[in-house]
């Protein structure tokens, strides 16, 4: 019994220390990254490549997901609103849900799974095959060459992906509501137009998206940097990226929502 208690204490202590030291390493990593940020704009070629990798290549999954999410929102919304004879509001409801919450959040979750995991794996493998060491030996700073373009690339790509997700979602909602359920075409759009506010809804949604981009890509880059440079270590780090980034996005979303819409 005492033995059991002892080992429980030991494990708790070990886990706490592990978490504390990885938070510390993360903070140091961010601190080293921030001063190097301006270099992203001295190397436009690298930046464009990263926007392509994390942005353009994520488009198919983002557009498909957006379409389905919009269709489901519209269908569920219609079923509720029709009882109150206000099914024209389904456009407003779909647009607001997408702009304020689902657009930024679901895009960030998909981005963590699609681009974040790829970033971690790429950097982890670069380290395990000594490519980062080789860069350092060639007097090329991996911070400026690898990390900063990926971070800034994600910050540019994610809000754009998010907007496309929202656009696609509204289109999906329109298809279901107007094309299938027979909501009036003009009412669908005019209600939406009247109730969506530029600053409250659109700008706030984009701010969220930028915040999520910073969070997801920093987690992904740090996990890649911090991975044990073996295949097992890299595969674990990839999993951690998806888990930490997803939970982080959901938690941060609550905080931002409380700040913005309260």
């Amino acid at each position: 019994m005492l033995n059991y208690f002892h080992s429980l204490l030991f494990t708790m202590g070990k886990v706490t220390l592990g978490v504390a030291s990885s938070v510390g390493r993360g903070a140091l990593f961010v601190a080293s990254l921030v001063p190097a940020l301006p270099y992203a704009f001295t190397r436009i070629d690298l930046l464009v490549k990263q926007v392509y990798f994390s942005g353009v290549l994520s488009l198919p999954i983002i557009l498909t997901a957006g379409l389905f999410v919009g269709m489901v929102l519209s269908l569920q919304g219609y079923n509720v609103l029709v009882d109150y004879n206000s099914e024209e509001a389904v456009g407003t409801m779909t647009a607001l849900s997408l702009l304020r919450e689902l657009g930024p959040v679901v895009t960030a979750l998909l981005f963590a799974g699609r681009a974040g995991s790829a970033l971690t794996a790429e950097i982890g493998l670069m380290r395990s095959t000594e490519q980062t060491s080789a860069l350092e030996m060639m007097a090329v700073d991996p911070l400026k060459f690898i990390f900063v373009p990926r971070l800034v690339g994600a910050i540019i790509a994610l809000p754009m992906l998010s907007m496309m997700f929202i656009g696609m979602g509204i289109f999906g909602g329109y298809l279901v509501a107007v094309g299938w359920l027979g909501v009036d075409d003009g009412a669908f759009w005019s209600q939406m137009h009247a109730h969506v506010d530029w600053k409250d809804d659109v700008v706030n949604g984009m701010i969220k998206s930028v915040a999520f981009a910073v969070l997801v890509s920093i987690i992904a880059l740090f996990q890649g940097q911090d991975a044990i440079p073996t295949s097992e270590g890299v595969s674990r780090a990839t999993t951690r990226t998806v888990v930490h980034a997803s939970l982080g996005v959901l938690g941060l979303d609550f905080v931002l929502t409380a700040l913005m819409f309260n």
Partner: protein, 265 residues
């Protein structure tokens, strides 16, 4: 010797966890010469190169390159120093998303503003020297181990550095290629006055070109001198190592508990 020392290692001590890799190592590497570093696998030859290049930091002692203490330099000063160094990594360490041509061109593109046709010329010259001009278009994943290492060698000398560190350049090369690489290292050293440090197990080949050689084992330098001096040495250690005999003072095993005891538990 009348030559200047470019790399001076003094009282170097380095540990990995509890394992002491270097214990009070002192070594001078002369300018414009070929220095061979030999020693059993796992003694820390790669580690020594990384310490010289400032990628690892010693626990105590110092490494001075061109009269500058490597581990006291700022990041940008270190990068200036490194732009005078070329390193052939044991694993090759090619950038996997670039083809052979772009890998060799990489340091040139990063550090110079040369026009494209000149870059192409330099890259082809370097690749010709390692016998891989025909492999321009291949990706690193399409190369054999020996080929990757030769591309990495071409990349290490792309910018005509003042010093080159070769970590096991002969591993995985056939006898003919090996002969060519041996004479390439010699030629580079002579024509460019390159300071070369060659880590290798191929005692015969490396001693044939080295001006100076040292053997490290168990964290210490056990012998150093010209190849002739080493070959004539009557130290048991050196004799065993250079002739590759299984029995003698050089340990083949990673430090461990007693074998019989370990098996009988």
């Amino acid at each position: 010797m009348t030559t200047e020392t470019v790399i001076r290692i003094e009282n170097l001590r380095f540990q990995r966890g509890d394992r002491v890799i270097f214990d009070d190592v002192t070594l001078d590497i002369p300018e414009g010469k070929i220095t061979a570093i030999m020693g059993p696998s796992g003694t820390g030859k790669t580690t020594l190169l990384k310490l010289i290049a400032g990628q690892l930091v010693p626990d105590s002692g110092s490494v001075t390159v061109y009269d500058k203490n490597v581990h006291k330099l700022s990041r940008s000063q270190l990068y200036v120093l490194r732009s005078r160094m070329g390193m052939l990594f044991q694993s090759g360490a090619l950038l996997t998303d670039l083809n052979v041509f772009e890998n060799v061109a990489f340091p040139i593109r990063e550090h110079t503003d040369l026009p494209e046709d000149l870059i192409e010329l330099i890259v082809k010259l370097k690749l010709q020297a390692v016998g891989l001009r025909g492999a321009l278009e291949l990706m690193p994943s399409e190369l054999s181990g020996g080929m990757s290492r030769r591309v990495a060698l071409a990349r290490a000398i792309a910018l005509d550095p003042d010093m080159v560190f070769y970590d096991e350049p002969f591993v995985g090369q056939d006898p003919i290629t090996m002969g060519i690489l041996v004479s390439l290292i010699k030629k580079l050293n002579q024509s460019l006055k390159l300071t070369s440090v060659v880590v290798s197990h191929d005692v015969k080949e490396v001693l044939s070109i080295a001006d100076f050689a040292c053997v490290i084992s168990e964290g210490r330098i056990v012998a150093q001198g010209t190849p002739e001096e080493l070959l004539a040495s009557d130290s048991e250690y050196v004799k065993q190592f250079l002739r590759g005999l299984p029995d003698g003072p050089v340990p083949f095993h990673y430090p461990a508990t007693d074998y019989i005891e370990d098996l009988s538990c």
